[in-house]
Symmetry: C2
Subunit: 311 residues, 2 copies
């Protein structure tokens, strides 16, 4: 595409992963946004959109997650440069699988590449987070970091974000089912309690720890026992029609774990094989049908790399 333009494919992501509320996420191969970044001669950051749900996303630079990420990046360098950014949405906005994170990452990653990669991926992260805040109000990096780095990512927010790339067990398959149903991200956050019991907090600590040890050991049984959420799921499960029976059906059909992806309405599950994933996926789709909802199924491996540069 020449030196003045670049096309980036950035993956959808699952945050929380049941036991890792606000500190764990992983990237999947499907679906993805495709972000085209082109240098211009003016100093504007010009945003345009096409694809799924494009009409719901603001194009004003400061209100657009990709625009804000690029502004944050350029402000950091004190540079005044112009870019046209076109986002082809493959990820449904408001689906709970990191739609805005993917756009922010694609744009910041593309601009960084066009400028000769002055920032490392880790350094880019904060600008992607600054972008994501625009659309979600808060940003924890648990979508942005896996979209940017690939794989399973642990984020510790302690002052500046501390990003730890975790191993991905062989054969691990992700299932996403997105129902035709809207959840307001802000509502999903407001429903959470300000405090939790110390007992629950200790259990959740044990769960995320067990899950991470499970990733290192490729121990699917340990991962499975650990995929229990005491922080968000007990409160958010009521926001998704049919959630309890869908969760049960997924587990009974052999899922390693199953939960709400991000703040929903997508439901994710993990499986140890593609064949098993197909069975689990169909059960979840069936579960949504029972409550009168159509849904879309994505079965995919874990995307373990940074965003792809397309020709």
């Amino acid at each position: 595409m020449g030196n003045d333009s670049i096309k980036i494919r950035t993956p959808a992501t699952v945050s929380n992963v049941s036991c890792g509320f606000d500190c764990l996420g992983y990237a999947i191969s499907e679906p993805a946004d495709i972000v085209t970044v082109t240098k211009t001669d003016n100093q504007d950051i010009d945003i345009s959109l096409s694809g799924i749900g494009a009409d719901k996303i603001p194009t004003t630079t400061k209100k657009n997650t990709a625009g804000k990420a690029v502004l944050s990046f350029l402000d950091f360098f004190g540079e005044k440069k112009g870019f046209k950014i076109h986002i082809e949405k493959g990820i449904h906005p408001g689906s709970g699988i990191g739609s805005s994170a993917a756009s922010a990452v694609g744009a910041a990653f593309g601009v960084n590449k066009l400028l000769g990669s002055p920032l490392s991926l880790e350094e880019l992260l904060v600008h992607c987070i600054n972008g994501e805040i625009v659309s979600s109000g808060t940003a924890h990096g648990d979508n942005v970091a896996p979209a940017l780095l690939g794989g399973f990512i642990l984020i510790r927010i302690n002052g500046s974000p501390d990003i730890i790339k975790l191993p991905v067990p062989k054969n691990l398959i992700s299932i996403i089912v997105l129902p035709e149903y809207q959840i307001n991200t802000q509502d999903a956050r407001n429903i959470l309690p300000k405090n939790v019991s110390l007992k629950s907090a200790i259990k959740q600590s044990g769960n995320i720890s067990g899950f991470i040890a499970g990733l290192y050991e490729s121990n699917f049984e340990l991962m499975s026992r650990s995929m229990v959420d005491l922080f968000a799921e007990p409160f958010r499960r009521g926001l998704i029609p049919g959630y309890d029976s869908i969760h049960q059906a997924a587990m009974e059909s052999g899922a390693i774990g199953c939960g709400i992806s991000g703040s929903g309405p997508s439901i994710f599950a993990l499986s140890y094989s593609k064949e098993r994933a197909e069975i689990i996926g169909k059960e979840i789709v069936k579960g949504f049908q029972k409550v009168g909802l159509n849904s879309k199924l994505f079965i995919s491996s874990i995307h373990t790399h940074p965003p792809e540069i397309l020709d």
Copy 2:
């Protein structure tokens, strides 16, 4: 010692390890209890004690942590057998380094061995926990499990305890400083809040996760950043004279991390070398001197094996 008697050395342990309140612990080589178990012809569990603080420990079987562990074990089999159990205390009672856990583990481990090892170490754990409850009121297994299995242990309590043995980075050295000062374990527990903010709970999740990833990666810097406790230390630090400046001195002299061992009053620290550990240990001892307290220093490698059978 013949087939009717066995002598077991069980190590002291550090629980909590800053970021792993009630779910993380490790075993150290020094100090240790030595428990001698001898079969008898009657059906009594007879407890006797010698060594450090022996006069403070009850010898009534049901009130003694080792006696209760053995009773729990024998009840499980419905067996009526008699044993003499002599505990030579090398670990100060009430020191915060798993004194009662070591005695419970030594006795249960010894009885199991004398009976031909009907239980695996993992199966023995619950009986050791039942023993430890007698002395501490609650038992989380975070002392008992590392005393029994060695190394760093993650415990998830979710119904039955789920024990995960974690890797031990090479060259990791433990520092323990036990001041001549009493803390009541029950007081140390009562001072804790019933609830924590969701934000703190998320941070603590990230911290223990980072620490565990650090153990797997032998990444001392990540371990160091992660060794922050938001659950117990903010409340318990006031119980230990000079704690804040001791903690600061330990960190400034190069500790990977430093915190309260169990519910105190012992302070533990981790170091990347024995030489550095000596410096850190002396700083902590000096810190206690400044507040008028004598203390005892133990520098030791991580004990990575089950209890030792002595000749």
